[in-house]
Symmetry: D2
Subunit: 156 residues, 4 copies
């Protein structure tokens, strides 16, 4: 576990950085941060790539759904009032945002138990999507929730 490869402790900084880059690229959870800078675009397909791609997609879906639900609840819904601040609806929007964040964090940290959290997240996202549909003018939020639910289900 604590073994340090010589190349990293004695190598030049750029060699060490290359070593770390290889680690991240091979890591099952690699792409989340790198993907945002397009660094993964040129990567070669590799064994385990399929799984890595699915998890990267799920991390991105969770982060996007978190941002969408939190921002919509705390800005659009609160400003609009009425049924948009109904207890059941606003609670669900904020619960959904929080669990998406936690699911993303479990996957980013490569937790072997991420599947259980993603399963719970998928259910909350689906409930939130239904609530957005009932409200009526939250189509984008509903779609983000459905996308995240589907991606999370693929992790269970």
């Amino acid at each position: 576990m604590n073994t340090q490869l010589p190349i990293d402790t004695r190598g030049s900084p750029s060699a060490a950085n290359a070593s770390r880059r290889r680690f991240l690229q091979n890591s099952i959870t690699a792409g989340a941060a790198l993907a945002s800078t397009g660094a993964l675009a040129a990567e070669q397909p590799s064994p385990g790539h399929q799984m890595a791609a699915a998890m990267q997609a799920a991390i991105k879906a969770c982060l996007d759904c978190h941002s969408m639900c939190l921002q919509t609840a705390m800005n659009y819904c609160l400003e609009k009032g009425g049924r948009h601040v109904g207890a059941a609806h606003l609670r669900l929007m904020l619960n959904c945002a929080e669990l998406c964040q936690t699911s993303a964090n479990f996957m980013l940290s490569n937790s072997p138990l991420h599947g259980r959290v993603c399963g719970a997240c998928a259910e909350v996202c689906e409930a939130c999507a239904r609530s957005c549909e009932d409200i009526g003018d939250l189509r984008e939020c509903r779609e983000e929730c459905l996308r995240c639910a589907k991606s999370c289900r693929s992790m269970t």
Copy 2:
């Protein structure tokens, strides 16, 4: 506050969604979620756009720095061991990830007090960048921290 514009309660779903879209596009914190799908790309410049753009950039910088620090700490550093799991370093990486998350959440929810949180975040990011530099092979993480620190400073 609780006033509902007629167009939203009586309008067609697509009219209501268009109304919500306008709200998000005009909102100071708008772009975070939308930006990730490129939906803002075609937007016209508008009053307040400058500020919105800076905050959108800060939200993105915080989310990226959160993902990078958490993923690097929980995967690369923990697997590598040695000085990568030194108490001061790992603590800083994880603290940085958490405060970036909280700063992003304050901005996403349009908190008038986001500047204070961003100020604290900038300091933690700078300390984390220094620690990454000392370790030596965490260049990408260091750069993400410096980018986030700069973006957060512009919010204070």
Copy 3:
């Protein structure tokens, strides 16, 4: 939903505070914050009290387990090094702390979907307890995890 009882909008501040106090005491998730000040001690048994008590206990168990795991991981384990910073162990301690926090937040906000999150939390707590047992000198942390797991299971 949005009905305001006359007593609250027109009553004296103390009457309004009494009204709010009654709400919290009758609320299914009431006791968490109040319990810490002993305010619930003199409460009369009431219908639904059994459920409220179980959820209050689960909230407290999650908050205690969160504090214990985070503090132990970030101080004792990081300072001690060796197998205490093994990747699988430290990851589990920190994942456990985070999910306990999220479970507590779902219960504090009275989410109808708290059972799903508590179910996932129970599993993570049990895995963390096993890891603490393997390490050997983390008995208190293991006991806190087992207590939380049991309490969370009762919510599913």
Copy 4:
């Protein structure tokens, strides 16, 4: 850093647990989790005890304020509606809950930068206390916020 005392690797489980207990009792952030079980009650005064006691109090104040704000916002305010779900007020309650959580986590993990986060937290708590006072029937929440603000200020 990674030095393991012989007593812990070779000692009996109870000796190892006693060693860990001593670490926690001497740790600057010790008391948070232990305090909840009363384990610190019989502790002897010791050098650094003053500081440890102040930080323990701040951790507890943050955790209590987090629970109180989140629970009140998501239950009492959402159910009551009207000015209780005013955008500025509800946003502040939820922002306050989140930053209290983050401040507690920084102190639980013994971050050397906890003072900056506690400073921001104190400001948000004070703003939340003022908003609770304006609403009128949120006296307990206001008092919890003021208590937390004072405790956080002592950490800066």
